[in-house]
């Protein structure tokens, strides 16, 4: 975003060290290109949901007894699966704003 450096106004901080890093941030920061963590969380939880849920389908009675009669793997797997899918859905419906084309790469 170096091209609109005039947006930057001095006076946010009155310290040379702070101003310097702020200047270079405004000029070169690539942070807008960050990936979306929702996809990672969604993906991991979908995987966990499938693994644990499938284990739950085949739980032996010894395992169910250990969990006080609760089919915990099945339930936990389902909940994690749904949570993971919701994260992916949220990311799909409200994607992060794409980086401005001009600022994409200028190294």
């Amino acid at each position: 975003m170096a091209d609109n450096a005039d947006r930057y106004q001095h006076g946010e901080a009155h310290d040379p060290l702070v101003d310097e890093t702020e200047d270079s941030r405004e000029a070169r920061s690539a942070a807008a290109r960050l990936f979306d963590i929702r996809r990672v969380i969604g993906g991991l939880f979908v995987a966990y949901g499938l693994i644990v849920g499938l284990m739950g389908l085949f739980d032996s009675s010894a395992e169910i007894d250990k969990a006080q009669g609760v089919r915990i793997n099945l339930w936990a797997g389902l909940v994690m699966l749904v949570f993971g899918l919701l994260m992916l859905l949220w990311q799909r419906l409200r994607p992060t704003e794409p980086p401005e084309p001009g600022a994409a790469d200028e190294r």
């Binding site: 001095h10 310290d15 060290l17 920061s29 690539a30 942070a31 995987a47 250990k66 969990a67």
Partner: protein
């Protein structure tokens, strides 16, 4: 710990753990693409949305010492443990967001010590930067050691293998991905931690016959009726915690908690990485909502362990209070959710350690190296310094972990001592923010004398010269007296020394707002559900309402 805690992990449990490790490293490498400048590396380019920084804010505090420790407190002290959340955290988090964040974020400082440099002078800055840096490395070592102990007890890994594996993973994702790597992983860790703790709580409650069954069982336990009440019996110190309500409100609720939450850079850094002022102010407040509910998955399992594990509360061995959660995992969780729970514990250790390490590398680079050794280098140079500082912090952390292995009690003491350090720091901050006249010299001597008082009281307590009912009571008093010392020294020295000019304080103190500060709000920030004040008030009201069932 012997083999008594060993969990029966199968291949699929290990697959769950391995998937987590791979994901965490992947997040680190993906975050690397976004690093161009030092602000990208140390403050995520100030670009993150509030829900991310808010969850990272609470996750940075969800170290396993916190989870294991709060479940242990739940078993030992009962319902009074909720004070650590509802009065000992939520009000301070809301205060940070509403009152203090405009000064931190608005002045564009890059760290908490840097605020002291601008508000007071370089000696105050250096004193705080060094004590913070040392504390973070030591605490990172303690976290690492605790991780290794759990891995050894639960999985049978040798201590050194667990220490090196844990350190290597944290090192990799912070060195490569910077603060974005740490914060994004903290958000992921938050959900994994919760996913690990919820099944323990659910099955535990089924086992004891629900909430009413749990309450009946606690009444019959060694805690008795007192284990179900947070405030009853605090008119004297005759309660499980040994604390008077005055101590709880002022010691824990004010001095200790405000000191920790509002001046600990490992926390505040998460808010500084937010993308604008509104998101920065909402960061700790969004973090307050999960914090309200975390006792459900720490204190309740603690109580369940108390009533279901016979002999819990031994002085040493497998049945110490600290093993409340590991014991429940062993007794209640079948393979599958067991893998999730182990992953959750590992995640919480990593979250805690990563917060310490990423706080350290920023303060070391900006506040020590750039400010006092090598100024005026190109920005890339400081990114390199930050990466080297990360490596050094983790290596030293491994060293302190091995020292801690020899002196685990001493390390507990050190951690308690650093928690007391925060009280004089908070005193200096709050007076400096609201009293424009407070001079730089007064700032330095206030901070130094407050810190000395805190240390002396602590040492006198250790040497048994001063007697307190409990370590907790000592920390209330130590923190309170340190705070008073700061105020008194500031009041005496300020009239005798020269204050800063008004124009040097713009944006740093109350009533001197920066008129040139550009409005950085985004579309939608004006919505009522994004108002920091409203969200904060709701959080505090909820905290008060939550006390009703356990009054």
């Amino acid at each position: 710990m012997g083999g008594g805690l060993r969990l029966n992990m199968n291949a699929l449990d290990y697959l769950i753990l391995a998937l987590y490790f791979v994901t965490v490293l992947g997040v680190g490498f993906a975050a690397r693409r976004a690093i161009r400048t030092s602000v990208d590396f140390f403050l995520s380019g100030r670009s993150l949305p509030a829900w991310v920084t808010g969850l990272a804010f609470v996750s940075a505090n969800l170290g396993a010492l916190e989870i294991i420790g709060m479940a242990a407190n739940g078993a030992q002290y009962g319902a009074m443990t909720v004070h650590y959340y509802w009065i000992g955290a939520v009000p301070a988090m809301v205060f940070l967001g509403i009152v203090m964040m405009p000064f931190y974020y608005g002045s564009k400082v890059r760290s908490v010590p840097e605020y002291l440099r601008l508000r007071f002078n370089r000696p105050t800055h250096l004193l705080n930067a060094i004590s913070f840096a040392v504390a973070q490395v030591l605490i990172a070592g303690v976290n690492l050691y605790a991780l290794a102990l759990i891995m050894q007890a639960l999985l049978g890994w040798p201590l050194w293998v667990a220490i090196v594996v844990g350190a290597a993973i944290v090192l990799a994702y912070i060195t490569v991905g910077g603060l974005s790597g740490a914060i994004y992983n903290e958000v992921l860790q938050f959900f994994v931690i919760i996913a690990g703790l919820v099944p323990i709580t659910v099955i535990g409650l089924v086992k004891v016959g629900g909430v009413s069954g749990l309450m009946d069982a606690v009444r019959d336990s060694k805690l008795g009726e007192a284990g179900l009440h947070a405030w009853q019996g605090t008119g004297s110190t005759d309660n499980p915690l040994g604390a008077h309500w005055l101590g709880i409100v002022f010691g824990l609720g004010f001095v200790l908690s405000f000191g920790y939450w509002t001046t600990n850079f490992a926390e505040v850094q998460r808010a500084l990485s937010a993308r604008n002022m509104s998101a920065a102010r909402r960061t700790p407040i969004i973090g307050a909502y999960p914090k309200l509910l975390i006792p459900l998955v720490t204190v309740i399992p603690g109580l369940i362990a108390l009533v279901t594990v016979k002999g819990l509360g031994a002085e040493e061995g497998d049945l110490v209070y600290n093993n409340a959660i590991p014991l429940l995992m062993r007794d209640l969780l079948p393979n599958g959710v067991l893998g999730i729970a182990v992953t959750g514990l590992v995640a919480s250790f990593m979250a805690g350690m990563a917060a310490n390490v990423s706080g350290f590398n920023t303060v070391f680079t900006y506040d020590i190296w750039q400010a006092y050794f090598r100024r005026d280098r190109p920005d890339d140079y400081y990114v390199r310094v930050g990466r080297i500082a990360t490596v050094v912090a983790v290596v030293v952390g491994i060293g302190t972990a091995f020292i801690a292995a020899g002196f685990s009690n001493i390390m507990n003491y050190i951690q308690a001592l650093f928690s007391v350090f925060n009280a004089p720091l908070f005193g200096t901050f709050i007076i400096g923010m609201f009293w424009k006249r407070m001079t730089p010299l007064a700032g330095f001597w206030s901070l130094l004398s407050g810190t000395v008082v805190a240390i002396v009281i602590y040492l006198l307590h250790l040497a048994d010269v001063l007697h307190f009912n409990s370590d907790l009571e000592e920390s209330f008093w130590g923190a309170g007296l340190a705070f008073v010392t700061v105020a008194v020294v500031a009041a005496i020295l300020t009239p005798l020394t020269r204050p800063k000019r008004s124009d040097e304080l713009t944006g740093l103190v109350y009533g001197m707002s920066d008129a040139t500060l550009k409005d950085d709000s985004l579309a939608g920030d004006a919505a009522w559900y994004r108002s920091p004040v409203l969200l904060g008030v709701i959080a505090v009201v909820l905290a008060a309402l939550f006390y009703i069932p356990v009054f």
